[in-house]
C-alpha cells in the first residue's frame, strides 16, 4: 500500500510518501521553491517523493491531508462568537480568506491532485487526519518503541494545542487535549513577538537568547499569564493576549506587566531585559513541559515518551525533561513542526485508517537518520555544477574526506553537501556548513560572515556517537539535534568574576571550554550524535578530523544564510558558497575552493533574502 501525506496552506508545506509502511521520501516544499516556510500546495515535494520512490501518481492508493479544515472553521466561528464584538477587526481580515479559499480546501486539494494526474474516486482516495493526531502519529509510528506515551504541543491545530495519547503496536489513541486559546506554543510565540522576533521562526532565537538572561519574570508569568495545574494542564489569562481578537500577539495589559511595548526589531537594540524575558519564558516552558510529562508518566506508568509539535523543537526543555528521568527513553520526531504533519498524516492513514501492521526493528526508528530528501548522482552533480560555472576537482571518497577534514582543522568554513537532504528544520550532515569546534573565532565568523545572522546565536556540535559521553553530559543518542546537554566539567574553562560581569553577548567571546564554538554561555550545547549506520560519510569525516586533531566534535549549522531555505540542489549550494565567506565546498565527489572560482560569479547574498 502506498500513501502520500500532505501538509499545506498554513506554513511549511510538505509531502511524505509511504511505500508499504516504509518512509520512501519526505521533503518540504520551501526547499524546492526557495521560499521560506512556503505554504502553497506542495507540487514539487510530491513530484520529488514519487520520483525518489520510482512511482507514478497512479500508484498511490491514498492521499492523507494533515488536518481538518471544517474543524478549524468551527474554531474560527466559535472564537469570534465568544469574543464578539471585540474581534471584528480580526474577523474582517480572516473571513474573506476563508470564504474565498480555506473553507473549500477539500475541493482545492482535489483540484490540485487532479492536476498532477490523480485519477479515480477522490472521495475515497483523499482522507483527512486531525492536526494533533498527525503530529502524534509522526512521533509514535516513526519511533523505535512498541509502546509509548505521546505528547504533542504546538501553537494550535484545529482545536487542540496540547494533546496526550497512548501508542501501542499499530494503534494510537488520543487520551486528552487542551484546547485553543490555551496554548503553550502561543505563550512562547507571544514572548517571541514581544522581544522583537518573527513569530513562527524566531522562537529558536528566543531559546538561544535565554542563557544570556536571568529568569526574573518566571514568577510573573506563572502568577499572571498562566494557571498551571498539578497535572500539567493549564489555562492562559487571555486578557494579557491579543491573538484571539487582534492582529498581534500581546495586549496592553501584557506590556504593562513586563514594563513597556514590544521591541521594534529595526529600532530597539536587544538589552538585558529582553534576555531576562527570554530566560523567563524558557524557564516557564520547561516547568510546564516537565510537569505535563511527569503527570503523564504517573498516570500511564509507561517507560517511553514520544514528542512532536513545534514546542518539541525546544531542545533545551527536551534535555531537561530527559534528565528528570521520568521516562527511560524519549524520542522526538525530527520534523516536529507542521512539515512533519505530512509524514504523520501518511502514517496515521497507514496504521490507523487502513489498519496496516507496524514492523519494528528493535532499537531503530523509522526515520533513517531523517535523510529522506533528494540526492544526486555524481554525474548529475558534475553536470549541474558545470552549468553554473563552478571550478571543481573530482576526488574519490577517501581523498575527499581527508581534504575536508584537513580544511576543518585549518579553521576553514566548509560547505558539506552529501547524500540525501534532511527532512525537518535541522541540518544533520547532509546539507551542512561545518567548522572547527575548537576555534575561538569560528562562532563569530560563521554568524557574521557566512550566515549573516545575529551574533548571539549559538552553534551546535556534531559528535561521534561513541565519543559523546567524553565531551557532553549525556549518554543517550541524540541523532536529530533535539537534546541539549552541558559540556563535561573537565573540558570547561571557568569564567573569572570579571568575565562573569560582562554584558550578555560579550560573554560569548570568552572561551568557555575546549570547544568554544559550540559551547553556549551556560556551558550547554545542542548535540547531534553522528552514527556510522545512518550517515557513514559524515561519520568518516569527523573520525578523520579526530585522527588529525584528537577532537571528535565539529560545528554543524544548516547550509543556508539567514532567511534562506536550506540548500537542496548542487546549484543552490554553489550559489550560497559564492554569496558567503565559505572557504571550501564539497558536493558529492566534487571539491571546490573559493580562490579557484571565477570572481565574477560572486553574489551579494547578504541582502538576497527577507530576514527571518
Amino acid at each position: 500500500m502506498r500513501i502520500l501525506g500532505i501538509s499545506a496552506f498554513y506554513h511549511d508545506s510538505a509531502a511524505a510518501l509511504l511505500d508499504n509502511g516504509e518512509i520512501a521520501a519526505a521533503a518540504q516544499e520551501e526547499r524546492f521553491t526557495r521560499k521560506k516556510h512556503d505554504s502553497g500546495f506542495p507540487h514539487r515535494a510530491i513530484e520529488f517523493c514519487l520520483k525518489q520512490a520510482g512511482l507514478k501518481i497512479d500508484d498511490v492508493d491514498f492521499v492523507v491531508f494533515y488536518d481538518k479544515p471544517f474543524l478549524k472553521f468551527e474554531r474560527l466561528l466559535e472564537t469570534y462568537l465568544a469574543f464578539a464584538p471585540r474581534g471584528f477587526v480580526s474577523f474582517q481580515k480572516a473571513i474573506p480568506v476563508w470564504l474565498k479559499e480555506k473553507l473549500f480546501q477539500k475541493k482545492l486539494l482535489q483540484d490540485e491532485l487532479k492536476k498532477i494526474g490523480v485519477e479515480g474516486d477522490l472521495e475515497k482516495k483523499l482522507l483527512f487526519s486531525e492536526h494533533h493526531l498527525s503530529h502524534a502519529a509522526s512521533a509514535f509510528f516513526a519511533s523505535p518503541f512498541e509502546e509509548a506515551a505521546v505528547l504533542t504541543m504546538d501553537g494550535v491545530g484545529e482545536w487542540a494545542t496540547t494533546s496526550f495519547g497512548h501508542g501501542k503496536g499499530n494503534d494510537l489513541k488520543m487520551v486528552r487535549e487542551i484546547h485553543f486559546p490555551h496554548s503553550l506554543g502561543l505563550l512562547y510565540s507571544a514572548f517571541t513577538y514581544y522581544t522583537g522576533f518573527k513569530v513562527n521562526s524566531g522562537e529558536y532565537k528566543v531559546m538561544g537568547l535565554a542563557p544570556y538572561g536571568e529568569p526574573k519574570y518566571t514568577d510573573k508569568i506563572l502568577q499572571h499569564l498562566i494557571d498551571l495545574k498539578e497535572d500539567g494542564s493549564f489555562r492562559l489569562d487571555l486578557s494579557y493576549f491579543n491573538y484571539c481578537t487582534g492582529l498581534t500577539m500581546t495586549s496592553q495589559k501584557f506590556h504593562d506587566l513586563f514594563g513597556g511595548p514590544p521591541r521594534q526589531p529595526d529600532k530597539d537594540r536587544l538589552d538585558q531585559r529582553h534576555m531576562d524575558l527570554a530566560a523567563s519564558v524558557q524557564d516557564a516552558t520547561e516547568r510546564i513541559v516537565i510537569q505535563l510529562a511527569g503527570a503523564i508518566q504517573k498516570e500511564t506508568g509507561l517507560k517511553n515518551l514520544c514528542l512532536a509539535g513545534g514546542v518539541a523543537l525546544n531542545c533545551v526543555a527536551n534535555g531537561k525533561l530527559l534528565r528528570k528521568k521520568y521516562f527511560d527513553h524519549i524520542w522526538i520526531q525530527p520534523a516536529a513542526g507542521d512539515a512533519g504533519g505530512a509524514l504523520g498524516a501518511a502514517l496515521a492513514g497507514h496504521h490507523l485508517f487502513k489498519k496496516q501492521p507496524r514492523k519494528l526493528t528493535p532499537g531503530k526508528d523509522f526515520m533513517r537518520g531523517s535523510y529522506l530528501g533528494p540526492e544526486f548522482t555524481q554525474e548529475e552533480i558534475q553536470t549541474r555544477l558545470e552549468s553554473v560555472g563552478a571550478q571543481f576537482t573530482v576526488l574519490d571518497t577517501d581523498s575527499m574526506i581527508d581534504q575536508c577534514a584537513r580544511a576543518l582543522a585549518d579553521e576553514k568554513a566548509l560547505g558539506w553537501f552529501q547524500g540525501r537532504m534532511e527532512f525537518g528544520p535541522r541540518a544533520l550532515g547532509g546539507r551542512s556548513i561545518l567548522g572547527d569546534a575548537r576555534s575561538p573565532s569560528m562562532q563569530s565568523v560563521l554568524n557574521l560572515k557566512v550566515k549573516f545572522r545575529e551574533s548571539f546565536r549559538p552553534f551546535a556540535p556534531s559528535v561521534l556517537r561513541e565519543d559523546v559521553a567524553d565531551w557532553f553530559e549525556i549518554g543517550e543518542d541524540s541523532p536529530y539535534m533535539l537534546l541539549v546537554a552541558d559540556v563535561v566539567q573537565n573540558r570547561r574553562i571557568a569564567m573569572t568574576e570579571e568575565q562573569k560581569a560582562l554584558f550578555g553577548i560579550d560573554k560569548l567571546n570568552i572561551p568557555r571550554s575546549d570547544i568554544p564554538a559550540v559551547t553556549h554561555v551556560d556551558y550547554s550545547a545542542r548535540i547531534q550524535t553522528v552514527h556510522a549506520d545512518t550517515n557513514p560519510a559524515y561519520h568518516q569525516l569527523i573520525s578523520r578530523f579526530k585522527e588529525l586533531t584528537g577532537c571528535p566534535v565539529i560545528v554543524n549549522t544548516s547550509f543556508n544564510v539567514r532567511g534562506e531555505p536550506i540548500v537542496c540542489t548542487p546549484e543552490d549550494a554553489f550559489r550560497c558558497f559564492m554569496g558567503t565567506d565559505l572557504d571550501v565546498l564539497a558536493v558529492g565527489g566534487c571539491l571546490m575552493l573559493k580562490e579557484e572560482q571565477d570572481p565574477s560569479l560572486k553574489l551579494n547574498y547578504a541582502e538576497a533574502f527577507e530576514l527571518d
Binding site: 498554513y10 506554513h11 505554504s39 471544517f70 474543524l71 478549524k72 468551527e74 474554531r75 474560527l76 466561528l77 466559535e78 472564537t79 469570534y80 462568537l81 480580526s90 474577523f91 474582517q92 481580515k93 480572516a94 473571513i95 474573506p96 480568506v97 476563508w98 470564504l99 474565498k100 479559499e101 473553507l103 473549500f104 477539500k106 475541493k107 501553537g155 494550535v156 485553543f180 502561543l186 510565540s189 513577538y193 513569530v199 513562527n200 491573538y243 492582529l247 498581534t248 500577539m249
Partner: protein, 49 residues
C-alpha cells in the same frame, strides 16, 4: 453542492446545529466584506485562522 452536504454532515456529527444561524449571518457579513475588498492575504502576525 457536495460542499453543503458535507458541511451539514459535519454539523450533524459535531452536534453543532446551533452554529447554523451564526454561520449564515457570518457568511452574509463576510460576503459583504469580500465584495468590498480585493485581497485575500490576511495580515496576521501568526496564521491562527
Amino acid at each position: 453542492m457536495s460542499f453543503f452536504s458535507e458541511l451539514w454532515a459535519f454539523m450533524r456529527v459535531r452536534k453543532k446545529f446551533w452554529l447554523l444561524p451564526i454561520l449564515i449571518m457570518m457568511v452574509l457579513m463576510g460576503g459583504l466584506i469580500v465584495l468590498t475588498q480585493g485581497s485575500t492575504v490576511a495580515p496576521f502576525i501568526y496564521t491562527l485562522f
